[in-house]
């Protein structure tokens, strides 16, 4: 176990190194480069621009810039935002709670609903419910998240006027849990739809596999009640492969959060990313790219380790 752990952690570190290099190259090799935004300021003279470029170190070769940036990140200095000069770390960390609230609530609903529908679907394979669910989850996986959000706003905020169309709270009002929840319903449901579909499909497939196992027939022959058979004998084993799904799903959830936050003007990391792209705010973009990638890599690593710990059949080599 220890050797496996060490190897996996080392692999994760290599991946993160590559991630930072890829991310940095994508942003810095683009035409115009980080200085392009300043060149658009009308009051900026050529000399000022050159001085600024030198000040920010943008005249140095990209590899050198990378090393300087990476050194900074490792010592806790992520640089300053081009937009307002605030520390990137603060700008990014400020946005984490909003995204976390959105993702966790969507995730909770999705896992609960996905497991339930997946189990029913597997137990009643080829029933009408199963067919409808299979069809429905495929459609849910194919709907563009932003359009689903738009339709949600149209129906519940414009037509029915029962839910707010965006933001995290009523503007000008003091913070209240009820107010937050009301604003959370639509974005969380929008983000949750794709996740429910995935969880339901995986649960169904995993349950179907377990149900066919010999020990299930043995248990049935011994006279185990149907409910206990499904919940205790089948579900517990079917859940194991689903652990990795939680990790694998993270990149897509972040992507979904970006789109959802944009549609619902939710002040999270995704919207910060979209805004920062508009401002060509390279340090913030880089910080966000790295942070999400670190979370994804860590999530997958944890999922794999939990998987290995839960399932004794997994041999670590």
């Amino acid at each position: 176990m220890h050797r496996y752990l060490i190897r996996r952690v080392l692999q994760a570190l290599v991946v993160l190194l590559l991630v930072s290099m890829l991310g940095f190259s994508v942003l810095h090799l683009a035409p115009g480069g980080p200085a392009a935004i300043y060149a658009m300021t009308p009051t900026m003279s050529a000399e000022d621009l050159e001085r600024l470029t030198r000040q920010l170190g943008l005249d140095r070769p990209v590899p050198e810039q990378y090393v300087r940036w990476a050194g900074g990140v490792l010592t806790g200095n992520w640089g300053r935002s081009y937009r307002d000069g605030r520390l990137v770390r603060e700008v990014v960390v400020d946005r984490i709670p909003a995204t976390l609230v959105l993702m966790v609530s969507a995730f909770t609903v999705a896992v609960g609903l996905g497991l339930f529908t997946g189990i029913v679907s597997a137990v009643r394979q080829y029933s009408l419910f199963d067919h409808l669910l299979t069809f429905g989850s495929m459609v849910a996986l194919s709907i563009p998240t932003f359009w689903l959000g738009l339709m949600g706003i149209y129906v519940f905020a414009v037509l029915l006027r029962v839910l707010p169309p965006g933001n995290m709270g009523t503007i000008g009002a003091d913070f209240a849990v009820g107010d937050l929840l009301k604003h959370l319903v639509l974005p969380a449901a929008t983000l949750g739809v794709v996740m429910v579909a995935t969880w339901s499909r995986y649960t169904r497939a995993s349950m179907l596999e377990v149900i066919r196992e010999d020990y299930m027939r043995t248990a049935q022959a011994k006279g185990v009640a149907a409910g206990a058979l499904i919940l205790k004998h089948a579900l517990r084993n079917a859940l194991i492969p689903l652990i990795t799904l939680a990790g694998l799903q993270l990149p897509l959830v972040f992507s979904g959060a970006l789109v959802t936050e944009t549609v619902f003007t939710w002040p999270g990391m995704g919207r910060l990313f979209v805004d920062s792209i508009g401002y060509r705010d390279y340090p913030v973009l880089m910080g966000l790219l790295m942070l999400t990638a670190v979370l994804v890599v860590a999530g997958n690593l944890i999922a794999d380790l939990v998987y290995a710990a839960v399932d004794p059949r997994v041999r670590l080599s």
Binding site: Q11, V14, V15, L16, L18, V19, L22, G23, V26, L27, A30, P31, G32, T134, F135, M138, V139, L141, S142, I143, P144, T145, F146, W147, L148, L150, M151, I153, Y154, V158, R201, Y202, R204, A205, L208, E209, L250, P251, L252, V253, F254, S255, L258, V259, T262, V263, F273, V274, I277, R280, L285, L288, L289, T292, A293, V296, V297
Partner: protein, 276 residues
């Protein structure tokens, strides 16, 4: 195999829908529809079935149906072309990793892992924002950020195939590495590549719509399903049809390609019954 595919009813229905969407896009110019970029302010927000607009008109009085069909041309083209890039890249890297194993495999695998660690939209947006937007650049950046799944699938298949007797036989007869890869290994992965290709068309159409919706993809006045929704949010109250139809078109196209991929997979591998 064909009979197994035909039995997958959603897949067959999807194939029919795709043909219709393709024809709609292909013949968009020949149908007697209003010009998709012709601005006509007197028709602003004309509701469906009025003033000669079957699906209504948008904020500039342009015909929604005509725009929808022309946008389909763009979106489907990007979808299929990006798929070609994805599959070429993915199959190439997957074959190399699976055939050579060792250091080549380890390096390619870590790069694949690194690419998979970025949330797809984040990477795509970062690229799209800095490259002048065009059909070709959209296709290329979707392609170069989507090859990872294909690489992994092809690599897995290669690792299994390369130990089989017929490969050993070919090697024994003195076939070169390149020949073994191209003539013996790759043809045996056509099945999984076909499935991956179909699913990646769905993914590419979806990604294009996200990027164009966010304003960094296909630029107006050229219509794509995504950019038709770009301003839709502001016109909800007055003209919901402007927002509703493009979304239906995207959902229809993406669902169809996904079902088609599913059906292909079931047809190619009868043991594999929906396990994604």
């Amino acid at each position: 195999m064909l009979s197994r595919f035909v039995r997958h009813r959603p897949a067959v229905a999807s194939a029919v829908i795709i043909v219709f969407l393709g024809m709609g896009a292909g013949f968009a110019g020949r149908l007697r529809l209003p010009d998709p970029i012709q601005i006509q302010m007197t028709h602003k927000f004309a509701p469906p079935l009025s003033q000669g607009h079957v699906l209504g008109a948008d904020e500039l009085g342009r015909d929604v149906l005509s725009r929808l069909l022309h946008a389909g041309r763009i979106s489907l083209t990007v979808g299929v072309a990006a798929m070609l890039v994805t599959v070429t890249f993915g199959a190439l890297l997957g074959t190399l990793a699976g055939y050579f194993r060792g250091a080549t495999d380890a390096i390619l695998l870590r790069i694949t892992d690194a690419m998979l660690s970025f949330p797809p939209i984040f990477l795509l947006l970062a690229l799209a924002a800095f490259v002048p937007p065009s059909l070709a650049s959209m296709t290329l950046i979707i392609g170069v950020t989507s090859w990872m799944d294909v690489t992994r699938m092809v690599r897995g298949q290669m690792l299994a195939l390369r130990e089989r007797e017929f490969i050993q036989g070919a090697r024994g007869l003195g076939a070169s590495g390149g020949r073994i890869m191209l003539r013996h290994l790759l043809p045996n992965t056509v099945g999984i590549i076909a499935v991956a290709a179909t699913l990646s068309v769905a993914r590419a159409i979806l990604l294009e719509s996200y990027i164009s919706f966010l304003g960094y993809g296909i630029q107006p006045p050229l219509a794509s399903w995504g950019n038709m929704l770009n301003n839709a949010q502001s016109y909800f109250a007055s003209a919901p049809w402007v927002a509703i139809f493009p979304g239906i078109a995207i959902t229809l196209a993406v669902t169809s390609f996904n079902f088609l991929g599913d059906g292909l997979r079931d047809a190619l591998d009868p043991r594999h019954v929906m396990q994604r």
